[in-house]
């Protein structure tokens, strides 16, 4: 199959975060994180701005900080596929992307529930494939921390491949009824609409029940950042969702991905690259800077600044002045940062703490100022004209086909982008004036799914 070149067009997705300090919750503009109307309002604004997709993460355990529930950030969020099914009813063209973990969801419900969303929405579903292995998360699930760390991407590949087999096994007149795939340490095969598959963690025998939607398969998103995760993305992803919005980092990521794609026998043109970014836009640069200061002041309160450092230091730092210098003590060894679901071990933590102290010291930054500066690295700030020019540069460098925006306010956080930035992007001829089609795949100008060519 010939892969068409990517259109010279920028896109946006919106990520309703529902966790992390990026959401400002303590101002009159801050709406409910729970009410369906907040989600609906954001989705409607996104659709008005021809956003490609509405993206939801997944919570498998409430975040903890130093062994207790983290209480400083927004928390509490809906089940992604349930909420997106409701949003499907009140949107028409917006893609609806759910994060589902391949460790704590089984093949049959993943395939069936994603197909359901895809059918209810007329082909607008996407799946952000994530994997984890930690037993702390597993404590909420029947099988606990059953998965070996070394196997997490192998198992994710097994789950994804089996889900694809199920989608391909959908009843189809004249279609092949017998196919299969041999994976490392696993086998997947199908006959007469029934898929049988097994890996080291169990076998399944599932009937494919639902027809395919107009986009054939939900669009596969992936956000892995480790070398293994990037390889997984290069093999499987149709949209790569990165954590690197800075221009240089985004270019470096794109080059790295190109190499991995080539190794996987895929072309850069069959993948869309969407760094995650906060966008602070205003009519003028001064107003944008003023807005940035307002956002940081409300995102990074004194307690949040200290808690941020505590994640790395692994110990109580409440005795330190948030408006003073970074702590002179070293992180406690073997510290765990469960707030982020990751672990930073002693030596790595000390190295990072040293570099932070050095940077903050050199610039004379307080703890709060320093943490705010870290947030700036995930942010694009500027006038609409300036940001449009910068975005065009990302597009031309192949560093991004779009951004997945994390709005700092719910539900009004996309208004400025839609009203100020998108018209400037249109002026430059790099933003569509209407949706290209009815499905998410159409609107991302993606080719047919990997197994349907």
């Amino acid at each position: 199959m010939t892969i068409r070149p990517r259109p010279r067009e920028f896109g946006f997705g919106v990520f309703f975060q529902a966790v992390n300090s990026s959401t400002v919750w303590n101002t009159p503009e801050s709406g409910s994180q729970t009410d369906f109307d907040s989600f609906r309002r954001l989705a409607e604004t996104a659709e008005r701005g021809l956003f490609r997709a509405f993206f939801l993460g997944e919570g498998l355990r409430l975040r903890e900080h130093l062994g207790r529930i983290h209480d400083l950030d927004v928390a509490g969020r809906p089940d992604a596929l349930t909420q997106l099914s409701a949003l499907a009813a009140v949107t028409e063209r917006l893609g609806l992307v759910a994060t589902l973990n391949t460790t704590y969801h089984d093949v049959a419900p993943i395939a069936h529930r994603l197909s359901t969303l895809d059918l209810l929405s007329g082909g607008r579903a996407g799946w952000n494939v994530v994997t984890t292995d930690n037993a702390w998360t597993g404590a909420n699930f029947r099988r606990g921390g059953y998965l070996d760390h070394a196997d997490r991407y192998r198992h994710a590949q097994f789950v994804l491949s089996t889900v694809r087999e199920l989608w391909d096994a959908a009843p189809e007149p004249g279609g092949p009824d017998d196919a299969g795939e041999i994976l490392e340490g696993a086998a997947v095969g199908r006959r007469d609409g029934i898929v049988e598959a097994a890996d080291a963690y169990g076998g399944v025998r599932i009937r494919s029940r639902l027809p395919r939607s107009p986009q054939e398969h939900p669009v596969i998103f992936q956000a892995g950042d480790s070398p293994e995760g990037r390889d997984f993305a290069a093999r499987n992803a149709e949209v790569v969702f990165t954590a690197h919005p800075g221009f240089d980092e985004a270019v470096a990521y794109a080059r790295d991905l190109e190499t991995r794609l080539a190794a996987a026998g895929r072309s850069r043109d069959e993948v869309r690259l969407y760094p995650s970014a906060e966008i602070i836009v205003a009519p003028t640069a001064d107003e944008a800077e003023e807005q940035r200061r307002w956002v940081r002041e409300h995102q990074i309160g004194p307690q949040t600044a200290i808690a941020y450092l505590e994640q790395l230091w692994g110990t109580d730092l409440s005795a330190y002045d948030p408006d003073g210098p970074l702590p002179d003590v070293d992180p406690v060894s073997d510290s765990t940062g469960e707030t982020r679901g990751t672990m930073l071990h002693g030596r790595r933590a000390k190295r990072l703490a040293d570099s932070w102290r050095e940077r903050a010291g050199a610039q004379g930054l307080s703890i709060r100022q320093f943490v705010a500066q870290l947030a700036d690295a995930k942010s694009l700030v500027g006038s609409a004209v300036d940001l449009a020019a910068r975005i065009e540069r990302y597009l031309d460098a192949g560093a991004a086909d779009g951004f997945i925006v994390s709005p700092y306010l719910v539900p009004s956080g996309l208004d400025d982008i839609v009203e100020l930035l998108i018209p400037e992007l249109r002026e430059r001829g790099i933003y569509p004036s209407e949706y290209a089609g009815d499905t998410l795949r159409d609107n991302l100008a993606l080719p047919a799914p990997l197994t349907r060519r």
Binding site: G76, D79, S85, A86, A89, A139, V204, R207, R209
Partner: protein, 385 residues
């Protein structure tokens, strides 16, 4: 009116496939995938306008069934923003669910629908369905215990956030009051869940839990009323004859365990339409595929006869779930020739857009168990000071 039946009589409809008759789908012709959502919406809006109390959605079957069904919770969720007053009740198999996910899904449905979610607990030993999972569901003799354990954990997760856990306290920087979030003190025999839930407490506090008799022990499920944590609010009664329903209802109300808050009878219906009598329709449908007994009572006839039957049933149960033979033929008759008369005779209550499903069913919004415990401790310590 006979026995101690409180609150208005409720009438719900099962909205699955094209109807309960096995030939229902064939009678409608093939439906393209692109029409699924439109059809679902049209039927739900007709049902809501007709004043039905709830819609129910069946769970996916095991591999032995070829009937394509969209996920029940998601069908209900899709209809949530399109409807205002009708209850949205999803059947989900407790034995094959991850309790943490299931609790989150039903809570999310309840929030999106502003308090109209219900769960029909299913638990059966279907070997094909078991083969779909890479882990072993509870075997036959452990099914009832496992279903109760799952219900208990799902209910505990719904309470794991107190109603006012989100405090947005700017001076201390706290979005949450972590004292109002709770790890679970309920675990099952075959699994445990740490908690708290990832979803705040749903709109109804506890979405309505329904189960067929025998799936769970009857009981109210409300801690304050002494019910078992793994119990249903509503028991669905299934008997082939009207008399059988009455007997089941009397037995349920007389049971030594805490009586269920409400009883709803299952009833299959095939009605006279403008074009054909029920008998003619049934003969035609049965020629394509015979409708074997499902163990549920079946009514065949005109609207007047159904109204009379419902009036008799209202003396023994609190409501019915109707299973129309062919949704697009029987639902319009229910809407135009049955429900208006039930309302006129004040058998069913008026529908109100601001009512939760609990409200429609005459169930209180339960007090959060953890809040109740915390307040009780507060009273004790207050006394001692």
């Amino acid at each position: 009116m006979g026995d101690s039946v409180g609150g208005a009589f409720v009438v719900g409809v099962a909205l699955d496939g094209d109807g309960a008759h096995p030939a229902a789908r064939a009678s409608r012709g093939a439906v393209p995938a692109s029409a699924i959502a439109r059809m679902l919406t049209a039927r739900a809006l007709l049902a809501e306008r007709a004043g039905l109390a709830f819609l129910s959605f069946e769970d996916v079957r095991g591999a032995s069934s070829t009937d394509a069904q969209l996920d029940a919770v998601q069908r209900a969720a899709f209809l949530a923003p399109l409807t205002r007053s009708i209850g949205l009740v999803a059947t989900v198999d407790a034995l094959r669910a991850e309790p943490f996910h299931l609790s989150a899904q039903l809570a999310s449905l309840d929030i999106a629908s502003r308090g109209r979610a219900g769960w029909i607990v299913r638990a059966d030993d279907d070997v094909d369905a078991a083969a779909e999972l890479p882990w072993e569901p509870a075997p036959g003799d452990a099914m009832v215990g496992e279903a109760r354990d799952v219900v208990a954990v799902v209910r505990a997760l719904w309470d794991s956030w107190e109603d006012d856990a989100v405090i947005r306290d700017a001076p201390t920087g706290r979005y949450l009051d972590r004292e109002r979030l709770h790890s679970l003190d309920v675990t099952g025999e075959r699994f445990s869940v740490a908690g708290p839930s990832i979803v705040p407490r749903p709109a109804q506090g506890q979405p309505v839990v329904l189960a067929a008799g025998g799936v769970l022990a009857p009981g109210t499920g409300n801690p304050g009323e002494g019910g078992h944590e793994g119990a249903a609010d509503i028991v669905l009664l299934e008997a082939e004859a009207e008399q059988g329903i009455g007997e089941l209802a009397r037995a349920a109300r007389a049971s030594p365990a805490p009586a269920p808050a409400r009883l709803i009878a299952e009833l299959e219906v095939v009605l006279d339409t403008e074009d054909a009598t029920a008998a003619e329709r049934l003969a035609l449908l049965d020629r394509a595929a015979s409708w074997r007994s499902t163990g549920r009572a079946r009514y065949r006839g005109g609207a007047a006869g159904l109204i009379a039957l419902l009036e008799r049933l209202a003396t023994v149960v609190d409501g019915v779930r109707l299973h129309p033979a062919v949704i697009d033929d029987d639902l319009p008759v229910l809407a135009t020739a049955v429900l208006p008369f039930l309302r006129e005779r004040e058998l069913t209550g008026p529908s109100s857009p601001e009512t939760t499903l609990r409200g429609v069913l005459g169930l209180e919004r339960p007090v959060n168990r953890f809040e109740a415990a915390r307040l009780a401790v507060g009273v004790v310590s207050g006394d001692s000071s």
